[in-house]
C-alpha cells in the first residue's frame, strides 16, 4: 500500500519536474510566494495539497484503513485480555474444585474406614456377648447346680474382655416373676433393688435382677434391670425378638459416660427360628447385657488410626430421624463444614446409627490454584501489553515513515526546484552578462587612456570569470537535475590533450613549471565519447593543478587500465636500477617528470617504464582487439601544495575548498572538481585522488570509451560539417630519426611520444651527467669524427632539454657538443633545445643550436619548429583555407531558397533578415497551414525554418503533415533511381526555431521529422552548425 502511494506521489513529483524551464520561473515564484504564507509546516502542507492532489485520495484511504486496523487491534487486544481473564478464572475454579473433591474423597475414605472399623469391632463385641449367652445357657442353666458362680463368670469375662473391645463390661440378669421373688430372694440371700436409688424394688409383675457381673459392672449386682427405663424396654424388645437389642444412648451408671446397652435374651430351651413372641417370652430365662462405653472406648479406638487429629468424628443414633442423638463426639453443628456420613450397622434392626465426619480445620486456602491462575493472568496481561506496545510502536514507526516520506519528497522537490532555479537564473544572468561584456568590448575599442583601459580590461576579465562561473553552476545544476546529455561522437584524444596544454602554456611559462602530456601507444587514435566534456574535465583538473603548483611539474598521462593493473605492484627500486645501467640511482631518488616527489608514485620512472614495456612488448591482446570499448586511466599529477588531510574528504563537494584561506590565496569557487567528478561519473567512470600536503596531488579517473577509427571521424566531421579541429599533423617528418637526450627518463618518454606522433623514429639516451651524455651521443653517431658517418647513422636531429640535468645544463650540452664537433657542420644532426622559456641572452646564443622548441611540447608545435629547422616552407595559404574552411555561413547559405515560418511578424522579419544577410533567398509564411501549402512536394525550397509555438498548427504538427505529404508524393513516383539511401526523395530539411533551447530536446524535434533546431534569436555559431548538417550532402 505504501508502495502504491509512493508511486502516485512519485508521479506527481515527475509532473512537477516536467514543468519546463519557461514555466520554472513562474513555478519558483509561486513556491516563493507560498513560502511566505506562513513559517514552519504550513508550506509543507500546502505543497502536499497543491501538488500532490492525486495522492490525497489514496492517502486518505490509507488513513481510514489504518483507523480500521487500529480499531481491530484494540478489539483483538480486549478479546485477548478477556479470554485470558476467563481462562485464569476457569483454571482457578477447576483447580479449586479438584482440591475440594480430593479433600472430600479423603474425608469420606477416612470416615468410611472409621465407620467400618467401629462397626467391625462392635459386631465382634456383639457376637461375643452372644457367645456369653451360650455360656450361660450351657453352664448356668443347663447344670444343677450351676457350674457358674459369680467369681467364675467375672474371671471368664475379664479374660475374654479383649474380644469385646468396645464393651465396658457384661452382666447377667435373671428373669424372676413376682411369684418367685421371695423364693429367689431367699435363695440368693439379697433382695432385689431398684436401679439408680439402690432401694428395695417395689412389687412388680416380674423382675430382672443381675446375678452375674463382670468386675467392671459389679455395681449392677442385685439391681433390677427392669427398673431402668432404657433397660426395661431393651429387655422386653430383646426377649420378644430373640435378637440383641440396643438402647438409645444414655448416661451409664457409675462412669456417667454416654453409652448404650446391648441385651441378649437367654432362653431355657433352644427355640426354633420361627418361634412366636409369646413362646419366646415364655421361655425366657434371663438376660445377658453389655454396656458399650462409647465415649472412652470409641475414642481409644479412633485414636489408634492415622490422622485422628485431622477429623472430627460424631456417631449418632438416628432411630428418631428428626432428633438424632449424639452417641459420641462433640456436639457441634456440622452443617457448615464439609462432612461425610457413613451408615453404621450395629446388629439391632430397630436402631439406626450413623457416623458423621468432618475436618477438624477449615479447608486451607487453595494457594496453588490462586497462584497458577494469577500467574496465567499476569502472563496474559503482559503479552497483551507487549502486543499493544508493539502495535503502537509499529503505528508510530509507520507514521514516522509517512512523515519522512513526505519530507523526503519535499526535500527532493526542493532539490529539483533548486537545480531548476539555478539553471533558470544562470540562464537569465548570462543574457545581461553578455550585454555587459559586449559593451565592455566596445568600450575597449574606443579611445581610452591607459588607466581607463586597464579598468575596462579588468572589468571585462571579471565579467568573463563570472560567465565562466555561471557556466559551471549551470553545468552543476544540469547534472544535478539530470538534464546533462552526453554526446557520442568520435574524437582524437591526443589532439584534445594538446589543445588543453596550449591553453595553459602562458600560465605555466610565467610560473616556470613543466606541463607535459603522455598518451600510451596502446590508446586508440580515435575514440567515441563526449570530447567537450572530457576536455572540460581535464581542463578543470589541469587548471586546478596550475593554480596550486608553483614549482615542479604537471603531468597528464593516459594509459589503459589493463596495463595499469598489470604493474599495480610497484617493483623494487633496486631491480630497476640494475636494469637501467645509465641511472646509477644516487641522483634519482625521485624519478618523476621534474624530479620532484609526487604524491602518487605511479608516474615515477619505476612504474612508468613497466607501463611502457607492457605497451610495446605485448602485442595488443585479443580481448582488447575484439572488445569495442577501451578502459582508459587518466591521471593528472602535480607537485603543488597538496590537499590537507582533513580537507580531503570534502574535495568533491561543490563550493568547498580545502579551507577558507585557500580561496583567499588562490581564488576560485571550488565547483570545478565537483563538476569534473560528476561528469566522470556520468560517463560511467570513477575519479579518485592521492594527495600529500606539501608534495602534490594526483587526480586519476578511469573512463570506458568506445573505440573508433579515422573513417568514423571523417564521417562525423562531414556529417556535421565541422572543420577538423586542427589541421592534420604534417607527415613530412616521417622516417626521420631523432635522438632524445635527457637526464630524466619520464621527460624523454614524453618527448618521444610527441615525436613519434610525427612519424619520427626516436632513440633515447638517458644519462645523468652532461659529459657522459655528450660522449654517448658522439658514440651513437658512430665516431667522434662524424662528419661523414653521422648521416649514415641516420640521426637527423638531436633533442635536448634545456634543464636536462639542472637549470640550463641543456644549453651547456649543446654548446659542448657543438664545440667538439667544431666547424664541420655539414650533415650534422639538427640540434634542438626544448625549453620552457628563454632569456634574451640565451636567445642570442642561437648559433649553438638549430632551433629552440618552446614547451609545453605538443606534436603540432614541435612540427612547426622543426619545419623552421629543416627549412620546410609553411604553406600558409593552404593552412588558412583549412582553418577558415570552405563553409562559412555565407558560403553555406548563399543562393539557398529558404522558407521562414513564424506567426510573429517581427520574429519572421528578423529571422528572414539574418538569413538574407548570409545570402539566402528567403520567403515567409505566417502560419503552419501556409507553410504546408508552400511546402508541397516537389519542393522549391532548400530548407525551412519553422517556429515551434504557433497558434492553430504548431511547428511539430506542421512538420509531421509535411513529412506525410512527402512520403505520399514519393510513393507516387516511379521507383527508379530517384529513391536513394532508402529515403524518399522529397525531403526538405526543416529546422525548428525555439526560444526555449533547454525545453526543446533534440529527440522531440527528430521525432516529428525535424532535422535540428536553432535558438531564437539566432546565434551565429549554432545557426552555422545546424545549417552545416543540412547542406552536408550538397558538398
Amino acid at each position: 500500500m505504501c508502495q502504491v502511494s509512493t508511486k502516485k506521489t512519485m508521479k506527481c513529483h515527475a509532473d512537477a519536474t516536467a514543468v519546463g524551464p519557461g514555466k520554472g520561473f513562474q513555478a519558483s515564484t509561486a513556491a516563493r510566494s507560498n513560502h511566505q504564507v506562513g513559517p514552519g509546516r504550513l508550506p509543507a502542507k500546502w505543497w502536499v495539497q497543491a501538488s500532490a492532489a492525486p495522492a490525497i485520495r489514496p492517502s486518505a484511504v490509507k488513513v481510514q484503513n489504518q483507523r480500521i486496523a487500529k480499531r481491530w487491534h484494540v478489539r483483538l487486544l480486549v478479546l485477548w485480555v478477556l479470554a485470558g481473564i476467563s481462562v485464569s478464572i476457569w483454571v482457578f475454579y477447576s483447580m479449586n474444585a479438584d482440591i475440594i473433591k480430593r479433600r472430600q474423597e479423603m474425608l469420606s475414605n477416612m470416615c468410611e474406614e472409621r465407620a467400618w472399623m467401629l462397626q467391625d469391632q462392635f459386631v465382634s463385641s456383639l457376637n461375643h456377648v452372644r457367645a456369653l449367652t451360650a455360656l450361660v445357657t450351657t453352664f448356668h442353666l443347663g447344670k444343677r447346680p450351676s457350674a457358674l458362680d459369680q467369681d467364675t463368670f467375672a474371671a471368664y469375662a475379664a479374660r475374654t474382655s479383649f474380644e469385646r473391645p468396645l464393651m465396658a463390661g457384661v452382666a447377667y440378669a435373671i428373669r424372676v416373676l413376682h411369684a418367685q421373688r421371695e423364693q429367689f430372694e431367699r435363695e440368693q440371700g439379697w433382695v432385689i433393688k431398684k436401679m439408680h436409688s439402690n432401694e428395695l424394688q417395689p412389687a412388680q409383675a416380674e423382675y430382672a435382677p443381675t446375678v452375674l457381673t463382670q468386675d467392671t459392672l459389679s455395681h449392677l449386682a442385685s439391681l433390677d434391670l427392669m427398673s431402668g427405663e432404657e433397660d426395661r424396654e431393651n429387655i422386653l424388645r430383646a426377649r420378644a425378638s430373640g435378637k440383641g437389642a440396643l438402647t438409645s444412648p444414655f448416661r451409664l451408671l457409675e462412669s456417667n459416660h454416654l453409652g448404650v446397652v446391648l441385651t441378649f435374651t437367654v432362653y431355657t430351651t433352644d427355640l426354633p427360628p420361627d418361634a412366636s413372641a409369646e413362646e419366646r417370652i415364655e421361655r425366657t430365662a434371663g438376660y445377658m447385657g453389655g454396656a458399650f462405653d462409647f465415649e472412652s472406648l470409641v475414642e481409644n479406638l479412633l485414636r489408634q488410626l492415622a490422622e485422628s487429629q485431622a477429623i472430627i468424628v460424631n456417631v449418632y443414633d438416628i432411630t428418631n430421624k428428626s432428633n438424632p442423638l449424639v452417641m459420641y463426639g462433640p456436639n457441634i453443628s456440622i452443617e457448615t463444614a464439609v462432612s461425610h456420613t457413613s451408615k453404621l450397622e450395629f446388629g439391632d434392626p430397630l436402631r439406626k446409627h450413623e457416623m458423621r465426619c468432618r475436618f477438624y480445620k477449615q479447608p486451607p486456602i487453595p494457594w496453588s490454584a490462586i497462584t497458577t491462575s494469577i500467574g496465567i493472568l499476569v502472563i496474559v496481561l503482559l503479552i497483551g501489553h507487549i502486543l499493544y506496545a508493539a502495535v503502537n510502536r509499529i503505528e508510530k514507526v509507520e507514521e514516522d515513515y509517512r512523515k519522512m516520506e513526505a519530507l523526503k519528497l519535499l526535500a527532493e522537490s526542493a532539490d529539483v526546484a533548486k537545480s531548476q532555479f539555478l539553471a533558470t537564473v544562470s540562464h537569465e544572468i548570462r543574457t545581461p552578462m553578455n550585454g555587459v561584456l559586449g559593451m565592455l568590448q566596445m568600450l575597449m575599442d574606443t579611445e581610452l587612456d591607459a588607466t581607463q583601459c586597464d579598468f575596462a580590461c579588468t572589468a571585462h576579465e571579471s565579467g568573463k570569470q563570472l560567465i565562466k562561473l555561471i557556466n559551471e553552476v549551470l553545468d552543476q545544476a544540469k547534472i544535478e537535475s539530470g538534464r546533462m546529455e552526453l554526446e557520442n561522437v568520435p574524437f582524437e584524444l591526443r589532439i584534445i590533450l594538446d589543445d588543453i596544454l596550449s591553453l595553459f602554456s602562458a600560465e605555466i611559462k610565467d610560473k616556470g613549471i613543466e606541463l607535459a602530456v603522455f598518451v600510451s601507444e596502446r590508446v586508440p587514435a580515435v575514440l567515441v565519447g563526449d570530447p567537450a566534456r572530457l576536455r572540460q574535465i581535464i581542463t578543470n583538473l589541469v587548471g586546478n593543478s596550475v593554480k596550486f603548483t608553483d614549482r615542479g611539474h604537471i603531468f597528464v598521462c593516459v594509459h589503459l587500465v589493463d596495463d595499469e593493473n598489470r604493474v599495480d605492484v610497484p617493483p623494487e627500486r633496486s631491480v630497476e636500477s640494475v636494469d637501467d645501467e645509465e641511472l646509477d640511482g644516487s641522483q634519482n631518488s625521485c624519478t618523476t617528470l621534474s624530479g620532484l616527489e609526487a604524491a602518487d608514485e605511479k608516474n615515477s620512472w619505476a612504474t612508468f617504464k613497466l607501463l611502457l614495456m607492457h605497451g610495446s612488448s605485448e602485442p595488443i591482446s585479443t580481448s582488447l582487439e575484439t572488445s569495442s570499448t577501451v578502459n582508459l586511466v587518466f591521471s593528472v599529477e602535480d607537485t603543488g601544495v597538496g590537499i590537507p588531510y582533513q580537507a580531503q574528504e570534502r574535495v568533491f563537494m561543490p563550493f568547498m575548498q580545502a579551507d577558507s584561506s585557500t580561496s583567499r590565496n588562490y581564488g576560485g569557487t571550488g565547483i570545478g572538481l565537483s563538476i569534473s567528478r560528476c561528469l566522470v561519473e556520468l560517463m560511467k567512470g570513477e575519479m579518485t585522488f592521492v594527495s600529500k600536503p606539501g608534495v602534490g596531488t594526483t587526480f586519476r579517473f578511469g573512463l570506458p570509451l568506445k573505440k573508433g577509427d579515422s573513417s568514423m571521424l571523417k564521417k562525423h566531421a562531414e556529417a556535421n560539417w565541422r572543420h577538423p579541429q586542427n589541421a592534420p599533423l604534417p607527415t613530412k617528418f616521417k622516417g626521420k630519426r631523432a635522438l632524445v637526450v635527457d637526464g630524466r627518463p619520464v621527460r624523454s618518454q614524453v618527448t618521444k611520444y610527441h615525436l613519434q606522433r610525427l612519424g619520427i623514429f626516436v632513440e633515447i639516451i638517458v644519462s645523468n651527467k652532461c659529459s657522459s651524455a655528450v660522449s654517448r651521443v658522439m658514440m651513437r653517431c658512430g665516431t667522434t669524427n662524424y662528419s661523414s658517418n653521422c648521416t649514415s647513422g641516420n640521426i637527423d636531429m638531436i633533442l635536448i632539454d634545456k634543464d636536462a640535468w639542472g637549470p640550463d645544463t641543456g644549453v651547456e650540452f649543446s654548446d659542448s657538443l657543438k664545440k667538439q664537433t667544431d666547424a664541420r657542420l655539414n650533415g650534422l644532426p639538427k640540434l634542438i633545445l626544448l625549453a620552457m622559456s628563454l632569456t634574451n641572452e640565451e636567445a642570442s646564443k642561437e648559433e649553438f643550436r638549430d632551433k629552440t622548441v618552446m614547451k609545453p611540447l605538443r606534436a603540432c608545435n614541435i612540427a612547426l619548429y622543426l619545419q623552421g629547422a629543416f627549412g620546410f616552407r609553411n604553406h600558409r595559404s593552404q593552412a588558412r583555407v583549412l582553418i577558415e574552411g570552405p563553409g562559412s555561413l555565407h558560403n553555406l547559405l548563399s543562393g539557398r531558397h529558404i522558407l521562414v515560418v513564424d506567426d510573429n511578424k517581427v520574429n519572421r522579419l528578423v529571422a528572414a533578415g539574418a538569413l538574407v544577410k548570409f545570402g539566402a533567398q528567403v520567403e515567409c509564411a505566417e502560419s503552419g497551414k501556409e507553410a504546408i501549402l508552400k511546402l508541397q512536394p516537389p519542393h522549391k525550397f532548400d530548407a525551412c525554418f519553422m517556429d515551434v509555438q504557433m497558434p492553430e498548427l504548431d511547428g511539430f504538427e506542421a512538420t509531421r503533415r509535411i513529412r506525410k505529404a512527402e512520403i505520399a508524393a514519393s510513393e507516387r513516383l516511379p521507383r527508379n533511381g530517384d529513391v536513394k539511401n532508402g529515403k524518399h526523395t522529397y525531403r526538405v530539411p526543416i529546422l525548428a526555431m525555439t526560444a526555449d533551447v533547454i525545453q526543446a530536446t533534440r529527440e522531440e524535434c527528430t521525432r516529428c521529422g525535424m532535422d535540428g533546431y536553432v535558438s531564437k534569436p539566432f546565434e551565429e555559431e549554432q545557426l552555422y552548425n545546424a545549417v552545416a548538417v543540412l547542406f552536408d550532402s550538397a558538398h
Partner: protein, 152 residues
Amino acid sequence: MDVIGRLQRQRTELTQALFKEGLLDEQFTQLQLLQDPNNPDFVAEVVSLFFEDSEKLLDELTRSLEQDPVDYKKVDAYVHQFKGSSSSIGAQRVKNACVIFRTCCEERSQEGCRQALQQVKHEFFLIKSRLEALLQLEQQILAAGGTIPFME
C-alpha cells in the same frame, strides 16, 4: 559635415543610453548588424513592424482582460507573441515585463494581469518613443548625407 558629426554623436549617445538603461539588449546590435547596403532600412522596417504589431496586440490584450471571465489561454497566447517579437528586436525590458505577465496569467490573477499589462504598456511606449527618436535621428543623418555607422 559638422551637423552630421553632431547628429552621429547624438545617435551614438542615444544608442548607448538605450543599452545602459537596459531598454535594449545585444539582439538589437545583431539587428543592426543585419542592416547593410543591400538592406538599408532593415532596422527601421523591423522596428516599425514591431510597433504596429505590438499596438494591435496591446489592444487585444486590453480587450481580453476586460472580459469576464478572462480567457487566460488567449491572453497567454498574446503575451507569448508579444514576448517573442520584443525579444526579437531586443527590447528586453518589454520582454521581461512579458515574462511577469505570463506568470500572472498562469496564476490566473486578474489583478496581477492588469498591473502587468500596465507595466508592459509602459515599457512598450518608453521603448517606442526612444526608438522612434533614434530612427528619426538616423533619417536625419541620411538626409544630411551622412552614413549610419555600423556597429563593431
